[in-house]
Subunit: 229 residues, 2 copies
Amino acid sequence: MDKIKVINIQKRVYANNDEDAMKLRKKLTLNQTFVMNLMSSPGSGKTTMLINTINRLKSQVKIGIIEADVDSDVDAYSILNQTGVTVNQLNSGGMCHIDADMAKQGLDDLNYKEFDFVVIENIGNLICPASYDLGQALNTMILSVPEGDDKPLKYPKMFTKVDCLLVSKVDTLSVFDFDFNKLEERVKKLNPNIKIFPISAKTGQGMDAWCSYLMDHISSFQKGGKANG
Amino acid sequence: MDKIKVINIQKRVYANNDEDAMKLRKKLTLNQTFVMNLMSSPGSGKTTMLINTINRLKSQVKIGIIEADVDSDVDAYSILNQTGVTVNQLNSGGMCHIDADMAKQGLDDLNYKEFDFVVIENIGNLICPASYDLGQALNTMILSVPEGDDKPLKYPKMFTKVDCLLVSKVDTLSVFDFDFNKLEERVKKLNPNIKIFPISAKTGQGMDAWCSYLMDHISSFQKGGKANG
């Protein structure tokens, strides 16, 4: 009984969420604020990758960060101290994901119109965030090498929902039993158009390709925004 | 509005769940079936650790496994093929945790009365499963070294809810910036009575201490069960 109740409730929440996300996306497009929703498991290296990305792009675009967490503000302070960009902390109150309404609150608090590029670093969770559209222009996922190449089999939804996948900590490939080709095959089966970047924030491997892809998307979005808005 | 709705709903579900879990715990105690709820992030090495534990204990106790997943049965087949014990697959239908009613269904399907020791391998998630009592005798969590020593700061609830913590993949300590003492300090601050085992399923490090702790708990439970039931 419990189980069925919860599933019905989730459907209602999703319906409202899609509507909220659509409205938010329209506003963000008109204001030319490119929002990236960044999702992954706990400990995949989201924050480290983000710090490296910000430091490579901050001279080209004005960046703001929304750091969502169940608890603590350690990541928000790391980003602020290591990049100097504006960071807002969003506490989820124990919830395992961010929804469009929470994203809107975070973006309004940040005063998003002032920024070209805003990253929402979602809660570390490979399941729940996949079901919530945040009005983002780009959905990005990180999977770290230590997590294993079987994750697309076990958590398929997230892999179908994202535009690009960063495979992080590739400097540790020799330590783990991780088959990159097998991973790629499993991911492409779920999502043929996904773009995959092997990266290491530690050694810098793959960061140029990733940042250039990201800048291309931000530029195209802004041109589209200018043309339409 | 969405946010508040969801929080209220979760409270109602928890209340029912605690009652269901209490009933289930009573039954399991009477039947002397020791249930362990095993929780962690995706990719922390739950299944590998489990296979190693089963192979060390299966001559001493009759073991059954409930393998909960959002999708796929790859782990269930790995366990079956590498240990030979009975494994039931429990698909969560997209849900990010197992609740007491789902655990009961899984245990009934397994015919739990035939087993001394049943492990419910929960969904890979560091947030949601922490809120659901499954009627277990032991709550165990795995944190892998690559996830980082800051996880107790970011996902405190799970660390307060578990009886023991296995720190897995300690053979990779030299590759990652992981301070074991810092982790221990952070965990003990949240949960002073927690028992922590550094382990590596790959090298076997720590597996003797962990398995002996586990067997002690199973024996005590069975003595208590006999005395009371």
